[in-house]
Symmetry: C2
Subunit: 658 residues, 2 copies
């Protein structure tokens, strides 16, 4: 009987390899743009090890991705040789090195299959459990080929014009373009466009490629809806091989507001396109992984695919290899989101193992950050760092308040993770308390009813950012939250949040404060505005006051704006978290609350995937029905608490709702 084998590798190498690959793909105006931040390669040489016993005579054949040899009980064997394994105790070690990819092995065996019981070391004395993927379950699987799936798409219209041909594929794709029937002697310039205008603009389009000398081409996967082939004659044909990750949609939301349903559809489509080796920010540009964007994506993912694997891949790629020498993506706040995100991951999926893997790396981030504090103990900007927070004017003199909240929340997480993985986290608990006390002492202004941006300049400037974090992470009492709400959030004198990125946090806070009306105002104008303009995916930014191709400009480029940007999918999170109202109250949804809220809707229904079990909600003015495939839930409605038993729907007949 053959054991179940799959390809295994040194934990993290798979993620590092594909993270490297994806960060090599950004293009702009015909140029390659290497990542602005450090990208790590996987390890070069790895030793795999397993001790086992067998009660019968068996065999093993070891397949390598790389070069190397097999050592069974002190005897050496070549890769792919059939090795007899007599009954008894054995130790097998496999040394593998791989220059172009990452070392990995597959063991075909009836006594010692390759699986997660193996250990590996990058030859630094320590062995730890391997990484691996059960989907790579045969010797001929190629672990360096990311398991995308492909779907052929034909253009919905083909339009000839004097210079060439324009293909419209009807919707945004990330696809390999297949060109056929081209004139071998023609110099073709292939211009990609998320918009029709972009595809026609050879000078300003972000992605383009010149090709010649062949009748057919297969170009690399890129984001587009339109493709213009300059220099092509009318015989030319094009197909798109759409490349995507087959993810199961586990969360859903539908409601009585058709516009919102369309917003959800566009959000789902946008988010799915950006879920690849990791969470991308946008599929046209820059196709990179940013810790801040990824943090928001993880929240969206929780209410859509609930795919824990992509969260792990993203985190492992982002944190890279030791030593930790610079903030994540070079940005102070982005380091903290990495840590904070670990706990949100744990709450969503209950995966203690991953936190155990990540704890030493999070510790490095904390130690690094602690080396960059000012005399008052606040994190500050050192050489090479970027205190980003948001693209917004704020008083950035000295230590910035918003960063301190992220720092404090990171300490809170470190204390909890340490306790979880059996380390002493008292230090972090203490530092958390001390930092919170200092934040209040240095940044809180009673007379303003607000946290100020920074205390060094004496400007006493108030923006929304720090105050949003204060409420979002529960650093303030409900009373103080109300004070902040009145003095900051409801105060038009305080500059509005202008970026959709930070709007993600702002709307989360409105959800926490029960202000679904404010969420709906944004849905109607911001998201609704795009939908009304015909957007099938959500853009990187939207300003209703703009017209025509003004919408496509950003960062000083005519078409620099991404028209399919992950953070635009925020409504998925908002509907799941604050309308369906499902969220874990202990790790992995061991316990969870369901606090449904119709807001301005007449009815809604949907599902949330609670770590292995679906929770379904159906809610209109007359009925509220909640069912769950697991115990542990509590329905909270009109101040009452109703326990939710596994597969026993709680159904409330409602009266007195207007």
């Amino acid at each position: 009987m053959t054991g179940r084998s799959y390809w295994i590798w040194h934990y993290g190498d798979y993620e590092l390899f594909h993270n490297m690959k994806l960060h090599m793909r950004r293009e702009e105006y015909g140029m390659n743009v290497p990542a602005f931040f450090k990208i790590d390669r996987p390890h070069l040489n790895i030793k795999f090890k397993k001790s086992f016993r067998t009660d019968f005579d068996g065999y093993m054949t070891v397949y390598l991705n790389g070069i190397g040899r097999i050592n069974l009980d002190g005897h050496f064997y070549a890769p792919e040789a059939r090795i007899n394994v007599p009954s008894g105790e054995h130790t097998v070690e496999v040394s593998v090195a791989n220059e172009s990819g990452f070392p990995s092995i597959f063991v075909e065996s009836d006594v010692c299959p390759s699986d997660k019981t193996w250990l590996s070391s990058h030859i630094s004395g320590h062995f730890c459990p391997v990484g691996g993927d059960e989907a790579f379950d045969s010797a001929d699987c190629r672990v360096e080929k990311f398991p995308f799936e492909y779907e052929e798409r034909s253009p919905i219209t083909t339009e000839e014009f004097c210079d060439g041909v324009l293909f419209d594929f009807g919707e945004e794709l990330l696809a390999r373009l297949l060109i056929d029937n081209a004139d071998k002697n023609a110099e073709l310039c292939v211009i990609y466009g998320e918009s029709r205008e972009e595809a026609f603009d050879r000078d300003e389009a972000i992605i383009l490629e010149s090709v010649s000398g062949r009748a057919s081409y297969c170009l690399k996967a890129r984001a587009f809806r339109y493709v213009c082939v300059i220099g092509a004659n009318s015989d030319i044909s094009a197909l798109a091989e759409h490349e995507y990750l087959p993810l199961e949609q586990r969360g859903s939301f539908e409601c009585s507001n058709e516009l919102y349903n369309k917003i959800v559809d566009a959000s789902v489509r946008t988010f799915h396109l950006n879920c690849r080796e990791a969470f991308l920010d946008g599929i046209k540009r820059d196709r990179w992984v940013w810790s801040g964007d990824a943090y928001q994506s993880a929240r969206i993912n929780e209410y859509l695919f609930a795919d824990d694997a992509i969260v792990r891949r993203t985190a492992v790629g982002l944190i890279g290899r030791a030593p930790f020498e610079a903030h994540l993506n070079g940005i102070v706040d982005y380091s903290f989101y990495f840590i904070i995100g670990l706990w949100e991951y744990y709450m969503a999926y209950g995966d203690r193992d991953f936190l155990e893997r990540m704890y030493p790396r999070a510790l490095e981030v904390i130690r690094f950050s602690e080396g960059r504090v000012n005399a008052d103990g606040f994190i500050t900007e050192c050489e090479g760092d970027w205190v980003f927070v948001d693209w917004a004017d704020m008083d950035r003199n000295g230590a910035v308040c918003a960063e301190q909240f992220l720092f404090a929340e990171s300490y809170r997480v470190m204390a909890d993770v340490a306790a979880l993985v059996g380390q002493n986290g008292e230090e972090f608990r203490y530092k958390y308390d001390a930092l919170r006390e200092r934040i209040d002492r240095f940044y809180w202004r009673e007379h303003l009813g607000a946290y100020i941006d920074s205390y060094e300049s004496g400007k006493e400037s108030v923006t929304r950012h720090a105050n949003i974090f204060a409420v979002m992470y529960g650093f303030v009492s409900p009373d103080r939250a109300q004070i902040i709400n009145e003095n900051v959030f409801e105060n038009d004198a305080v500059p509005k949040i202008t970026t959709p990125y930070f709007k993600g946090y702002e709307l989360d806070v409105y959800g926490k404060l029960g202000r679904l009306d404010k969420i709906e105002r944004e849905l109607d104008t911001y998201w609704g505005g795009m939908i009304t303009l015909g957007a099938g995916t959500v853009w990187e930014e939207f300003d209703p006051s703009m017209n025509g191709i003004e919408h496509y400009a950003m960062y000083g480029g005519k078409f620099m704006k991404s028209l399919c940007h992950a953070w635009g999918a925020g409504p998925i999170y908002l509907f799941g978290r604050y309308y369906l109202g499902v969220y874990p109250t202990s790790p992995g949804y061991e316990s969870f609350n369901v606090e449904p809220c119709l807001g301005g809707l007449d009815s809604m229904s949907g599902t949330v995937y609670a770590a292995g079990a679906f929770v379904k909600i159906s809610f209109d003015k007359k009925h509220l029905a909640v069912s769950a495939e697991r115990d542990g839930g509590t329905l909270i409605f009109r101040g009452e608490r109703y326990p939710i038993k596994k597969n026993s729907p709680v159904i409330l007949e409602l009266k007195g709702m207007s």
Copy 2:
């Protein structure tokens, strides 16, 4: 006027890349053997930067090894585009990523050539001066091709036998084998041999390869003198493309003893073959870089090629990239040789810059080691470590004395390097003194007149190793050195040093003690024995009591012994250091001594390269002549000191020498 440009890279990447390449090449019995220790890859993405001003309108064209783009004053340009640079102040940044090699750039420019005034960062906030090599001085140079030279060699005899053909190339080579006129349909097995017997032994030869399907082959560079092609017909022909590093032989030694001259010749040949991307241990097996071997090679190199570049390449490859997570090559002593070797390098070449680069890495080694001490503060073996010292029986219970001497000498070096590079090294001075005191207190036995191996077992076992280090590093007074000499070195009850590796240290100590007679005894029997058997290169080990092919066996393999092993070239060092007697007394030979000694010779002459200046010695029973191309030398002879002025030979007429 075009400035002088050459390829530049992030410091260390060139060395890491070639170190990686070389450690992928070991073969054994038809299998690839990945390194037993961690090998690092170069960085993936690098940012290069330079600020400059020009008084005239110029241009620049940037060539990349990798993908990326150029940012001049905020505007982006493609690689290889001609960029106009108007007169004035400018900042240019070049971002490069390279998956298969290492990021590097070449700038053709009349205003801003690529040279060592550029800075680079692996995008972690810090910029530091680039690495580069002036030899790569045109855009079409390939920095990933190590600059070996090639020389065609024909076999001196070709011998047909029933199964195939044997080629004898007359001497040991490291060469690509070119086979021609083979029968396309024949399955050929190419067996390499450092000895004739090995080339005939398909089962036991270390290196072999099966090929078929072509009439001609070019096989990868391997070590051999003999090649046997099984399955070949008599038409087949073979050539060798000998691959070597063109190194200038700067040091020389010739004397009245013809055997010794032959030993020097074999040593030179052996050492040259092993000087490649870095100091190899042996060219057949294992073709790797070991810190202990490299430490001895650096000493040999000082008296032969005096090539500082290979010492740096070796050190940078060995230490690899941070973090330092395991001892060098996994061996405790080998970590210390890395540190100690830094100072010997500085004494030989006076290169402060390199020590500045290496100081943070050496500090990591020290901190790592300090984390692995026992309750008495002695370095000990932790999980994954190997306390090697030598292949020798000794009391290895607990902390071993020999390691403590290396630890102490490392502290001494750290204190000096810290002072040199402007860091505070007082801590290391203090720790050095404290450790020396503890060594004497725990390991010195007055009644034995010796340092014992280890104190934990109570065995009070004495071997030569620790005592050799005590004298070699000058830890003991001349009086105690004599006590050790009598009780240990001259004591036949203390087991002999059996490995040529440790014999390197032992003979150094005999030199320091003025016992050239003991050195000569080894030259006569050990090295002389090999020469008498016809060896053209020096073997990994030699036992005069063996016969025939017994000599080729080692590590349990019939032909596992390397017949061209770097440490065998030790006589080059011994003759230069103790016969010619030239050595620096301050860094870079700012001052140096010449203490010539004829030992048992009638006459000798030779040169030593004293950091840019040749020192020549000619010495027979009647004359001693010393000249130097630099000031700073002192001739020490019969208790007298004679200052050596630049280019003014000191000539002593000798009387009264027997």
